[in-house]
């Protein structure tokens, strides 16, 4: 404030008013993107817990398919990001391997890997999240929960996608360890469900397209896509994630998502 002390009172007030105005109008444009992201995220509120089986089909350029199976459990943490466990079922050599994640709204997620052959729970650096998940076109990052606070948003436009009127929002990951510089997200106007994401890599190249299909409603409010497809435009490969046996209200507690619980998983 010392540098401003030579300004007369009136001038100072005007300056402050101008600054406030500028920040409000600036935010008005930025905020529409954030507002849509918040409404979209609300779809995930109050589900308490969920479990599902996942089948992941990895498809190469020639159309050859290999299949991976996982089980997935998730627990809502009201004041922070969610807790989740992914347990690998196949291929057989990684059966029983499990990843425990505690997502956080702002700071880096906590992650542990369980290696059943050694009966070892190993803390892993969650910053290493841009790498492929199980050899698929999904990265670890694509698998983690996309907390609203982890991005900057800009509202771009409205667009019809697959006969659905959608908002198109640009978001930029705040985490410098993200594999992406920017993402374009299509969110439908009716239910605020994510329909499509374009992922741009560190060279701002449109690397991957992620499609969310077959949304079904559980318990009257919880929307779960039953198919998520990730197309890699660079290598021509695709990965398709299919969800099955989706169940809410399993009665999970924090104890089902502890490091100790990993040791019980096999």
């Amino acid at each position: 404030m010392k540098g401003l002390s030579h300004l007369k009172n009136k001038q100072f007030t005007a300056l402050v008013m101008a600054m406030i105005l500028a920040s409000i109008t600036g935010n008005l444009f930025a905020n529409k993107g954030l507002e849509i992201a918040i409404l979209s995220d609300k779809n995930n509120d109050d589900f308490i817990d969920s479990s599902s089986s996942m089948t992941m089909n990895l498809i190469n350029k020639r159309g050859e398919v290999v299949t991976r199976k996982l089980r997935f459990k998730r627990l809502e943490v009201p004041t922070d990001g969610d807790k989740s466990i992914a347990i690998f079922e196949s291929p057989r050599d990684v059966k029983g391997v499990a990843i425990l994640s505690y997502a956080h709204k702002v700071k880096a997620d906590d992650q542990w890997l369980y290696l059943p052959a050694l009966k070892r729970v190993k803390r892993i650096a969650s910053k290493n999240k841009s790498g492929p998940f199980l050899g698929s076109e999904f990265s670890f990052e694509d698998f983690s929960f996309q907390e609203v606070e982890k991005y900057d948003y800009v509202y771009l436009k409205e667009e019809i996608y697959q006969e659905k009127p959608c908002y198109v929002v640009e978001r930029k990951p705040l985490d410098p360890y993200s594999g992406y510089t920017k993402q374009l997200v299509w969110i439908d106007k009716e239910n605020y469900l994510v329909q499509k994401i374009h992922h741009f890599d560190r060279k701002s190249f449109h690397l991957k397209t992620q499609l969310f299909k077959d949304y079904r409603k559980y318990e009257g409010f919880f929307w779960q896509p039953h198919e998520i497809e990730m197309i890699n435009h660079q290598n021509g490969k695709r990965s398709i994630l299919l969800f099955d046996d989706v169940k809410l209200k399993n009665g999970f507690t924090d104890r089902d998502f502890s490091q100790n619980s990993l040791k019980r998983s096999r």
Partner: protein
């Protein structure tokens, strides 16, 4: 073993209708030279591990056995129950009863703190292959951390390569006449606890073990020339594990202090692990491990440099390399291992191990002298049932 079988026979029959899986492994090691004690160049082995797992949410049953037969070395033959336990989960605690494996520690190349299970000493250098240990374990998960309290029911002796085996000590080990400092010998009930917790990016664990040392000392055999007998003493060992995540760098260390095994001594392993994700703008990861060792009982403190290339392909292809460098004695050990999945059922790994044995005697204690003729190539094929 017998006790284990007994536990199994009294388990309610419906518990044993869990998920059944298994693993068949074929392993061939080719040594470039005849052994120092005239052992054969080619060693094959075969192992079979059936497994049953059942999770009734509050009750878990797990059985896993390992049977191994070796073409040359009867010391590598093994019939072991690795897991045969029940876990009961109560409101405020969980109780594990039966035979099991428990891992303690944070470092990668050497495991100082890990003491619950006996090491299968005929399987690799890393000491990660273990024998099942009968136990009762009670665990408390609280806001202040996880506390595991163990009663370890009886003792498993370490298994060593026999006289026809490779990578063995120059003197043969007379396992049949093992000595104990405790009058209850291998029936002694040992106790241990481990407390662990994490605070943001810091993981910490403190443990204590009071019982029969898993690591024996050796005495000259009274009734056989050029042979040793293992002496299993009663020890007290306190361990500390610390790990800190600094962005994508993992700094870790573990240290023990042990008494009752000669003079009290300290031993430690510490270092870091770092992964370069998307190495050279590809989908490959390159992981680095650097670990230093210290042991009051040894002159040398070798350090290990390890790398792991993960191709992140559908075959989970990996190439591991490791150097053990013993600066004082100018010794070097080198390991290279490549592995990949084959189809959905199988895994193939190829491994080469080389010891750079400087013949010159620089008066320093040597680590690899006994292995100077033991450079080898190994192929392992695992079929998952």
């Amino acid at each position: 073993m017998l006790k284990g079988l007994l536990v199994m026979s009294i388990l309610p029959a419906q518990l044993v209708v869990g998920e059944m899986i298994g693993e068949l492994s074929f392993d061939n090691r080719y040594f470039f030279n005849v052994g120092l004690q005239e052992q054969e160049k080619n060693h094959s082995s075969f192992s079979f591990s059936p497994e049953i797992f059942k999770d009734d949410s509050n009750r878990i049953f797990h059985f896993k056995a390992k049977l191994r037969r070796d073409s040359e070395d009867s010391g590598r033959n093994l019939n072991d129950i690795q897991e045969l336990y029940l876990i009961n989960i109560f409101e405020d605690k969980e109780i594990k009863f039966g035979v099991s494996k428990e891992f303690w520690g944070v470092t990668e190349t050497s495991h100082r703190v890990d003491i619950v299970n006996q090491t299968d000493f005929t399987e690799g250098f890393d000491g990660e292959e273990k024998l099942g240990q009968p136990m009762i374990k009670i665990s408390f998960e609280r806001p202040w951390g996880l506390l595991d309290i163990y009663a370890l029911l009886g003792f498993r002796e370490r298994n060593f390569s026999g006289i026809k085996g490779r990578l063995r000590s120059p003197l043969s080990i007379n396992e049949k006449n093992s000595l104990y400092s405790s009058s209850s010998k291998n029936k002694r009930v040992d106790f241990a606890f481990r407390w662990s917790n994490y605070y943001d990016n810091l993981d910490i664990a403190i443990s204590h073990f009071s019982g029969t040392s898993r690591e024996p000392r050796f005495l000259p055999s009274p009734n056989k020339i050029n042979a040793l007998v293992p002496l299993y003493e009663v020890i007290d060992q306190t361990g500390l594990e610390i790990q800190y995540l600094l962005d994508s760098l993992v700094i870790k260390g573990e240290v023990i202090s042990r008494s009752g095994h000669g003079a009290r001594f300290t031993a430690a392993t510490y270092g870091f692990e770092y992964t370069q994700v998307g190495f050279l703008q590809t989908r490959m990861d390159l992981g680095w491990v650097v670990e230093f060792n210290h042991d009051d009982r040894l002159e040398s403190s070798p350090f290990v440099l390890g790398t792991r290339f993960s191709f992140n392909d559908i075959y989970d292809s990996q190439i591991l390399s490791g150097f053990i460098i013993n600066d004082r004695s100018k010794e070097l050990g080198f390991l290279l291992e490549a592995s990949r999945r084959i189809g959905e059922c199988c895994l193939l790994s190829l491994e080469g191990v080389y010891f750079d044995d400087t013949d010159e005697d620089n008066g320093k204690q040597k680590l690899f002298q006994a292995f100077m003729e033991d450079d080898f190539l190994r192929a392992e094929f695992i079929y998952y049932l």
